[in-house]
Structures are given as structure tokens and as C-alpha cells.
Amino acid sequence: MNVVTVQALVLRYLYLYTRTPIRLVELLFWPLVHLLVWGYLTEFLKSHTGDAFPYEITYLIGAVILWDILFRAQQGVAIFFLEDVWSRNLLNVFAAPVTNADYLAATYVVGFLRAAVTSTLLGVLSALLYSFNILQLNWGLLPSIFNLLVFGWGLGMISTALIVRWGPAAETLAWAVPFFIQPFSAVFYPVDTLGKLAWISKMLPCSYVFEGMRKTLKTGEVDWQSIGIATGLNCVLLALAGILFIRVMNVAREKALLTKFASQ
């Protein structure tokens, strides 16, 4: 991997945002909408349930913030590839001295930057509007964020691999893939709620992060065991996603899929 190459690829993405501020709407608007909806729902439930208010409801705001980190990281990887498809720039990039590792590293950086921008915004607003402080997660916050980033990157690589393999018609996967797993990710409810389907949840690193978040918010103690399991699962997922991505890129070169993208 070459740092200068990665910087150049990231620079291209940063230019996009400085050139077209309307893109910030996509980056900031939807997370903000989610925060407001879930935040005011929480406020409503609080005001109508009085003493019977289940404190766990406040975790929804934390869930919205953490889910968005995962989603933005995934988007950073998948949309990065699609930007080149949409602008018919794909062949220019793949004919340039760029390795798979350079390309992936650049998508990770973009995913991180996207997640950093939205999570900072949501963190500040949730504190101001709903008195929810994400920093309550204490020392568990950073490893939780890191695990969600890594899981998002892995999902992004899988999304991109599927899009490359199946062609532009599969573009919608760039947005859909995270929502395929959301019901099993224990974002807004505990894993136990899933009943017989809980085994799916137990295979997903993010479900341990969300379970850990709820435990920390409830007890004030960091759930290191959940963080450890999430990290282990993420290592496996990232390795598998990397293998899938490289294999699909090899298939793309064999079947001329990249040139087909360029001509469509």
C-alpha cells in the first residue's frame, strides 16, 4: 500500500464535497432526520409514561448515533466505487498505478471521515436537544466505534464486490446491504428479542457492540467481553470480505466487467 496514492484517491473524494456542498445534505440530512425522529419519540414516551418510563428507551438515541457510524463507513466504501462508475472514470483509476490495497485503504479513510462528520454532529445535537451524552460509554466508546467502522468497511467491500459481479443493476445494494442485517443487529432492541433467530445476531459483530452499549449505559461498566467478541468476529469478517473483493476483482478482469461498467 502506498500512502501518496491513498492520499490522491481521498483527495479526489474531498474535492467532490468542496465542489458540491449539496452533497453535505446527503451526509448530514438523513442522520439528522433519524436523530430527530428517535429523539422526539423518546421525549414523547418519557412525557407520557411518567414514573413507569422504561429507562432503556433513552438508549435509542445512542443506537441511532452508533448505527450511523456503521452505515456511513459502509457507504464510504461502496459509494467510492460507484462515484467512479457514475463519472465514467473507472478505467482511468484502474489503469493508473493503484493496487487493490491502495484502493481499499482510500475507501476506508473516506468511510472513516464520513462517519466522523456525522457522529460528531449527532453526538453534539443529542446532547443539546435530548441531554443524551454519548460519552457515557466511557472507555468503551472508542473500541465500539472502531468495531462499527471495521464492520461497515467489511460490509462496504462485500457490497462493492456484489456490484462489480452483478453490474450496475445491483447499484442499489450500496444502500440496501446494511439494512439487510439491521433487523438482526440488535440496534434498537436486545438480541433475546429475536428468539429463534438470535443465532444470526450472534454472528454479527455489531450486535455485540449494541448489546455492550446498552449494558454500559445501564450499569456504567464497559462490557469488554462483548467488545472482544466483536473485534474477533470483525477480524474474520474483514479477512473474508478482503478475499471476496480480491477474487471478484480478478473475475472482473477475466470477464472484462470493469470495461462493461465504463461503457454503460
Partner: protein, 255 residues
């Protein structure tokens, strides 16, 4: 003896039952401009994409500067560049931003000065701050060429660089291509459907038809061989009759 800048040996690409490129061999000497000619579907673009490593050959070998492309692709690509009528630079970036990104990817030294230089070569310095997506087709093609010339490539691959250009701009582009060879020492593989381009620019031509090489020679030798008055007539004859002179097919050019 110095190895050819590009040597393609028995290059083959098969998609299912179709041989897009069928055992093609040719070589380009340093400082040479070789035209790769043929009708649509002849296999020119597929061959170029294999030289760039974007498509993996079914069989055969690509050597650039004497090294196997697949063994050291990234290092070799740093000394190459490419421009195709089928690609564009991101339309939502300014002209200088696009060139800045690709200049960094190709490790161009003194990048700002080089960007000014290539823009001037293609006579689009006044567009430096324009948004690329707002350029006309001709301006956009010239911007693509700027990108291709940024790193003073030792091997430049041009896939129909004058398509969509008016005669005046096409003439300027041909001059730039020759200047790139004469002043910057580039070796060039050039495809075009514009036979005027080929006559003016190319030292030798490779005629392809249905994935195979029909003839290799200078433009003059080509006319003599096919007993035609112009390359355009040769092109039309080959495209319509599809005659394959098997004695010439596969003969390695440049050797």
C-alpha cells in the same frame, strides 16, 4: 539490444465462444507510433485493455519495457498512461482538480508547472478553473489527453483520441501526439477510425479484423500490399470483405 517498449506475444482473449483477440503478436520500438486499426469489434480496445492490465488475457504475454506486465503491473503503469474516448474525468471536479489528483497518482514532479504545461499544449489553459462536466465534447477529450500526458509517459496508449473532435482540434491533437513522441520521448500505441489521423501520425500500422492481425507495415507498405489509394479504402475493404491473409496473420511486427 534494447527490448521493445511493448511486446505482445500470442495475446488471446476469449469470451465464451468468441475470440475477441486471437493470438495477436506485435512489438513497438522506442519512439515509435504504432496504429492499431480495424473496424468495430476487431479487438483493438480489448487488446489495449489487456496491455493496461484491466482485462486478463486468456493466453499470451504482455511485456512492457522488457518486464512482464503481470509481475510488476503498478511499477510499469507509473511509466505509462492512457486516454480513451470511452472514459471521462469526474465531471463534478474542476479541470485543475482532476489533473491534480491524477498527477499525484502518477507521482508527477513539479505538478503545478506540469499541469500548466499540458493545458497549454492542448490549448485549454483558459479552462483550468472550469468544472469538467461543463466542458464541450472536444474540450473534454483534450482534458483526457492532458491527463494522459501528465507523467510524460514512456508508453502512451491512445484509444480513438480524436473521436468527436472537429477537424481543427483533431489537427491540433495530432500535433500534440507527435510532439509527445518527438519532445518527450513517448512511444505510442494509437487506435483510430480516422484514417487521416493514422496517415499523419503513425510510423507503422497493424490491421486487425475479428481479433486477428491481417497486416503489419508502414502506411505506405499497407497501401502497396492492398493495392489501394488510401488507408480509408483499405479500411473499408477489410471491414467489408473481412479477408484474412493467413500468411501475414500473427506475424510479429517490429521484428
Amino acid at each position: 539490444m534494447e527490448p521493445p517498449v511493448l511486446r505482445v506475444s500470442k495475446l488471446t482473449k476469449t469470451f465464451g465462444e468468441v475470440n475477441s483477440v486471437d493470438g495477436v503478436s506485435f512489438a513497438i520500438k522506442k519512439g515509435e507510433i504504432l496504429g492499431l486499426l480495424g473496424a468495430n469489434g476487431a479487438g483493438k480496445t480489448t487488446a489495449i485493455n489487456m496491455v493496461l492490465g484491466i482485462i486478463t488475457p486468456t493466453a499470451g504475454r504482455v511485456e512492457v519495457f522488457g518486464e512482464d506486465l503481470h509481475a510488476s503491473r503498478v511499477e510499469l503503469l507509473r511509466r505509462m498512461n492512457f486516454c480513451s474516448t470511452y472514459t471521462q474525468l469526474p465531471g463534478n471536479l474542476r479541470v485543475w482538480q482532476n489533473l491534480n489528483v491524477f498527477g499525484k497518482l502518477y507521482r508527477v514532479r513539479h505538478l503545478k508547472e506540469r499541469i500548466d504545461q499540458v493545458l497549454e499544449m492542448l490549448e485549454i489553459s483558459h479552462l483550468k478553473n472550469r468544472v469538467s462536466g461543463e466542458l464541450s465534447a472536444g474540450e473534454s477529450t483534450r482534458l483526457n489527453l492532458c491527463k494522459a500526458l501528465l507523467n510524460k509517459p514512456n508508453l502512451l496508449l491512445l484509444d480513438e483520441p480524436t473521436a468527436s473532435l472537429d477537424p481543427d482540434i483533431a489537427d491540433k491533437v495530432r500535433k500534440v501526439v507527435r510532439r509527445s513522441r518527438d519532445d518527450e520521448g513517448s512511444t505510442i500505441l494509437y487506435t483510430s477510425h480516422n484514417m487521416r489521423d493514422v496517415e499523419e501520425v503513425c510510423d507503422r500500422v497493424v490491421f486487425m479484423h475479428k481479433g486477428r492481425i491481417l497486416f503489419v507495415g508502414t502506411p505506405g507498405e499497407t497501401l502497396q500490399h492492398f493495392k489501394e489509394e488510401s488507408l480509408e479504402e483499405v479500411f473499408i475493404r477489410v471491414a467489408r470483405s473481412g479477408e484474412i491473409e493467413s500468411d501475414k496473420a500473427g506475424k510479429e511486427a517490429g521484428e
